[in-house]
């Protein structure tokens, strides 16, 4: 079987996706990035091939993207996250939806990509200076609140009146949360406030980048229903969640590899 692999070597997770000749997702694997993304990429890729019963010659192209893309030596070429996400979004978009903006909440950065009808990047903005507006922001605060990252979303949806979190900085927000707890605020309200704060920060960036509807949320952050709700409130529009939000970059990379390999999209 002919297929194409995309490897998204993110800061926190390694995502590998394999697409077949008809652009159908054959299989995927997500694993913590570890300390050596070259080794991790190879291991995750090999395991995925095993699981799918494929052998290396079946894979016609391997395209890497993400923070560690240049270090992944099993790939044939690498593309930037921006391009991979833009391509992935067109594929992953719900039936009939015309995605024009992608908001990606990653572990170490967040980005907003505005694309045109052909799926080409029109403009983009990235938050890569600090933890504000990234998955790490949630991770740090989840630890303070003694919940897992997975529990954050459901908790936040149960909030009655979300607290106001003013600090965008993860470290200052942490002390703000601690004082909110000390004042006896309900944990759920605090969690909802955290989501709002993050959504607010990223929405500002999205507006500056020239946000257009419809909006697709990708990245690990999209797995969190509380964050989706917070974005809908903040941007006052419907937000669509990618089918495999964490895989969007990897899928995009695989498709780009396929297209440049002469495959028919």
């Amino acid at each position: 079987m002919e297929c194409y692999a995309g490897i998204d070597a993110g800061s926190t997770y390694m995502k590998v996706a394999i697409m077949n000749n008809n652009s159908v997702l054959e299989g995927y694997k997500v694993a913590p990035a570890g300390i050596d993304c070259r080794e991790t990429a190879k291991a995750v890729f090999d395991q995925l091939l095993d699981n799918l019963g494929l052998s290396a010659p079946d894979v016609l192209s391997i395209t890497s993207t993400g923070y560690g893309r240049r270090r992944v030596d099993i790939s044939h070429k690498n593309v930037t996250e921006i391009r991979a996400h833009a391509t992935g979004a067109v594929w992953t978009a719900h039936e009939g939806r015309k995605i024009r903006t992608i908001i990606d909440i990653g572990g170490q950065d967040s980005k907003v990509i505005v694309i045109n009808e052909e799926g080409e990047t029109k403009n983009f903005a990235m938050n890569d200076k600090c933890a504000a507006g990234t998955g790490r922001f949630l991770e740090v605060l989840a630890r303070v609140l003694n919940v897992t990252v997975e529990e954050l979303g459901p908790f936040s949806l149960q909030a009655e009146s979300p607290c106001q979190i003013n600090s965008l900085c993860a470290v200052f927000a942490e002390s703000e949360v601690i004082s909110l707890l000390a004042r006896g605020n309900d944990r759920k309200n605090i969690i909802a406030g955290i989501h709002r704060s993050l959504a607010k920060r990223v929405s500002g960036m999205a507006r500056r980048a020239g946000l257009e509807s419809e909006v697709l949320l990708t990245g690990g952050g999209a797995l969190n229903p509380g964050l989706v709700a917070a974005f809908e409130d903040e941007l006052m529009m419907d937000i669509y969640v990618a089918k495999n939000p964490q895989l969007n970059g990897a899928i995009g990379a695989a498709l780009l590899g396929k297209n440049s390999n002469g495959g028919k999209g």
Binding site: Y67, V79, T80, E81, I82, R83, D109, E120, T121, K122, N123, F124, M126, D128, K129
Partner: protein, 450 residues
């Protein structure tokens, strides 16, 4: 007995302090040499480097690595050369013609060094731009002969940071403030500016004279210095035109570097070197020796000036596969772009001509309104077939950032993408910037293919 012991202790303490200071200076000096040499080595690695670029690289190496600026600016060892005054300048509003005409030598001091900006960091508010931090750092450390050899410095009142910098610099050196109007279109401000230049001329005449006797700037000398800078401008414009070719002949890194070197060289020698570079580039053009293809995305770098050795952004852009064909930096194209228009050659007419040249066509964002700059950018975008603009904002440079609003709007109308990069001289954000610039260049490449 007791007293003498105390004195001894004081002396030991003082020596210790001086020792600490020396050590600290030595550390800065090492860092400074290293960062300058890194940038120079990167430029020299380029296989397409034009032969004539070595002259400019050598200038920077003499000034920043070998610390021998005096060799460039005071070349001859005769008596008159030893009395030659060196006048430091900040910003491009200082008329170098007046300095040359008085037999002095101007040197542009705006700092681009990371280590110097760290030294300056302790002396100015945190949100000050790195240009001012580095300039103050260089001056306060008293490390480099480039800064030590200036007998006086002229600081035009352009942006807030530069204005206050003048005040701070006066702790270390003789500073002459030069009041630049912020509104060019009013009759009053033009008259005031002319008066300022007459006052400056007076100052320079007194300064270069002997024992309080003014050494008047003669008509002939002024005419000659206008001509000398005019020919430097002619060569700068030749380079500007060469960079318009559909496939680039010189990288933006090199071109901007060659212009930047003008700051530390005498106009006469620089012009000769620039003529050689332009001749070489024209030959390359005839031979079809291009550094990249016609499909390479063409970038205009706008906003705050990259100043040597801070070649961070120009290097990243070109490493990521684009070519910088134009810049509007006050250390680059804008520095030597506008010539002086003269009708007669009386001193009065020349003074009016100089006054007009230094503010009327100048598009520094310290002017308001500054519609001229938008017009200039549109003109450049067209002349150089620009695919995208990288808008460089040095942290703390509010006025360039302000004008981005208008630049973005006007470029949207022309369908030219603009990427804002806010950074300073520190290397810590290079990897993040690389991702962003790479994605931008990739996007421009795809747009261009279509």
């Amino acid at each position: 007995m007791n007293e003498s012991t105390n004195e001894q202790i004081d002396e030991i303490l003082m020596n210790k302090e001086a020792d600490q200071l020396q050590k600290r200076k030595a550390r800065f000096a090492r860092g400074l040499v290293r960062s300058a040499e890194t940038t120079l080595a990167e430029l020299e690695e380029n296989p397409d480097l034009p032969e004539s670029m070595h002259y400019f690289i050598n200038i920077m190496r003499e000034v920043f690595v070998k610390d021998r600026a005096h060799r460039l600016l005071l070349p001859s060892q005769n008596q008159s050369a030893n009395n030659r005054k060196i006048i430091g300048t900040y910003c491009l509003m200082v008329p170098e013609e007046l300095i040359y005409a008085a037999g002095a030598t101007p040197v542009r001091l705006c700092g681009g060094n990371y280590e110097a900006s760290l030294a300056g960091d302790e002396l100015v508010p945190r949100d000050t731009c790195p240009v001012v931090k580095a300039s103050i750092g260089f001056t306060s450390l008293n490390l480099m002969s480039l800064y030590q050899m200036c007998d006086a410095v002229i600081v035009p009142t352009t942006c807030d940071a530069k204005r206050k910098m003048g005040e701070e610099l006066s702790k270390f050196t003789e500073v002459w403030m030069l009041e630049v109007p912020h509104i060019k279109d009013s009759e009053g401000s033009r008259r005031q500016w002319l008066q300022q230049l007459y006052a400056l001329k007076n100052n320079i005449e007194k300064f270069t004279g002997k024992s309080f006797i003014r050494r008047k700037i003669r008509r002939k000398a002024l005419d000659a210095s206008i001509k000398m800078i005019g020919s430097a401008q002619y060569q700068a414009r030749r380079l500007y035109d060469i960079r318009k070719s559909s496939a680039a002949i010189i990288s933006g890194r090199d071109a901007m570097f060659a212009i930047n070197a003008y700051s530390y060289d005498t106009a006469f020698k620089w012009t000769k070197a620039m003529t050689r570079l332009n001749d070489e580039l024209e030959v390359r053009c005839h031979k079809g020796q291009f550094i990249c293809s016609e499909h390479t995305p063409r970038i205009l770098i706008a906003g705050s000036p990259p100043i040597f050795p801070n070649w961070k952004i120009p290097s990243l852009i070109e490493e990521m596969g684009a070519v910088i064909v134009a810049d509007e930096s006050c250390m680059g194209n804008r520095y030597l772009y506008d010539p002086i228009g003269l009708t007669e050659k009386s001193v009065t007419d020349m003074m009016v001509g100089i006054a007009a040249r230094y503010i009327m066509p100048c598009v520094c964002p310290s002017f308001a309104p500054n519609e001229d700059r938008l017009f200039r950018l549109l003109q450049m975008a067209e002349e150089f077939s620009i695919d995208g603009i990288i808008y460089h904002v040095l942290k703390g440079c509010v006025i360039y950032d302000f004008e981005l609003i208008r630049v973005e709007k006007i470029m949207k109308g022309k369908n030219i993408p603009v990427l804002r990069i806010e950074t300073d001289y520190s290397p810590e954000d290079i990897e993040q910037l690389r991702t962003r610039i790479e994605a931008f260049v990739e996007m421009l490449g795809i747009r261009k293919e279509r």
